[in-house]
Amino acid sequence: MSRKPEKLIDKKGLRLDGRKPDELRPIKIEVGVLPNTDGSAYIQQGKNKILAGVYGPRELHPKHLALPDRTVLRCRYRMAPFSVQERKSPAPSRRDIELSKVIREALEPSVFLEYYPRTGIDIHIEVLQADGGTRCASITAASLALADAGIPMQDLVTACAAGKVDNTIVLDLMDTEDKEGGADVPVALMPNLNAITLLQMDGILSLEEFEKAANLALEGCRKIYPMQKEALKAKYVSVKEVEE
């Protein structure tokens, strides 16, 4: 029932929440938050609140899905019924199913799958509150959950979107910008390898605008990457402190 804003960028070039076009929302990341999982992470990005957890490598059920030469990565992205404006039915939507697929495919290139043949790794993502860009924040958190579970990886995967709003290319769109804006380009990156593992786009962008948006999104990923590493370190420091 929220009214649509007339302008998404004000005269000073600032966005509805006061950010500059190339500014990320405040991000808070915590690793190792769910005691019953093998690895987990929590991310707040703007008003997004997302939990990711990992089980595995472990025996696969049903068994006939197991592969002789590598582990099977599965991913399940879901939104809590209260996470969005209109209550979401708990049954998986078509969007949930597509996002589960692209998130899995964004994470898979980072994992050494062949280390654990005949096993499975399950990634569960729960969006507790959604505010635009949940798929990117989910990837950022899920990659940390994999690391927290001790899964060997070539690199972390970091994700961020850029897009177009009132004819300006902006970073990290929040919900209103996503819905009322002109385009959204979510990107996932393995920063050390400069490898793009997720790329989607909707809206309308010229080739030049797309290039600008893609580069801005990659820049966003590179800003988030150190926060991921920091969060990972924080967990192991605190674990070490507890152990000492």
């Binding site: 005691p35 404006q85 209550r87 729960e126």
Partner: protein, 263 residues
């Protein structure tokens, strides 16, 4: 856990309980620490996160316009749903609700409904046609035992935190107006769960106790000390004496919790 370890643990827990002690140091009728945090999901009409020891439950409410049930045309509708999120335990399978999540939701629902916590008549828009539907979604985020009590607390805390958009009725349509009005609740039903282990009752069982218990009894008590819901679960049994003993303790425990939370 392997069945051998379960067997040893069971023995250890039972021996302690026979002496009036518990593995985590609590007395037989002690609750674990309870933490309640309200309003953490801004998108929801109401929300609360409850920690009961390490058990963690998030509840959120949503209010939508819907149809009344045919037998209560003048009353709003309460719908409680519970999700045993796979993150909460390696034993929770993804998929549609199973008998455990359905039982959990229905026990929480009965506690709220039967205690008449919500005045459903106030949620009627047009009799027989349009009413407000209050959705309470219970999200179990970490399972360390006694999901019922934690979920009932989270659901109640979320309802206490719920604000409805102001509205007016124009040509039978609900038009949202500026501002919010809190949902008024008249009661604070508290669920108190007992595990029977080796013929003794303990309150607020945690995961290891649940794995070794014979059976379970939940008693929900309102502000006047009246019982408004009960549910025996698990495959054991209680003697009539144990049931009455539990009912008495439940009243005391509910009062303590209500006092602690200022409800």
């Amino acid at each position: 856990m392997s069945s051998v370890i379960v067997g040893l643990k069971r023995k250890q827990i039972a021996q302690l309980i026979a002496k009036g002690k518990r593995l985590d140091g609590r007395g037989l009728t002690d609750y674990r620490e309870i933490k309640v945090e309200q309003g953490i999901i801004e998108r929801a009409e109401g929300s609360a996160r409850v920690l009961l020891g390490k058990t963690e439950v998030l509840a959120g409410t949503k209010i939508e316009v819907g149809k009344p049930f045919p037998d209560t045309p003048n009353e709003g509708v309460l719908t409680v749903n519970a999700e045993l999120v796979p993150l909460a335990s390696p034993n929770f399978e993804p998929g549609p609700p199973n008998e455990n999540s359905i039982e959990l939701a229905r026990v929480v629902d009965r506690g709220i409904r039967e205690s008449k916590t919500i005045d459903f008549k106030k949620l009627c828009i047009k009799p027989g046609k349009k009413v407000f539907v209050v959705f309470v979604d219970v999200y179990v985020l970490n399972h360390d035992g006694n999901l019922i009590d934690a979920s009932a607390l989270a659901a109640l805390a979320a309802l206490l935190n719920t604000k409805m958009s102001n509205y007016e009725i124009e040509e039978d349509e609900v038009k949202i107006k500026p501002g919010y009005t809190p949902l008024t609740l008249t009661k604070h039903p508290i669920a108190v769960t007992f595990a029977k282990i080796n013929d003794k009752l303990v309150v607020d069982p945690w995961l290891e106790e649940e794995q070794t218990m014979d059976t379970r009894l939940t008693i929900t008590v309102d502000d006047e000390g009246n019982i408004c819901a009960m549910q025996k679960g698990g495959t054991g049994y209680f003697t009539p004496k144990q049931v009455l003993e539990a009912a008495k303790i439940a009243g005391e425990k509910a009062g303590e919790i209500r006092k602690k939370l200022n409800w």
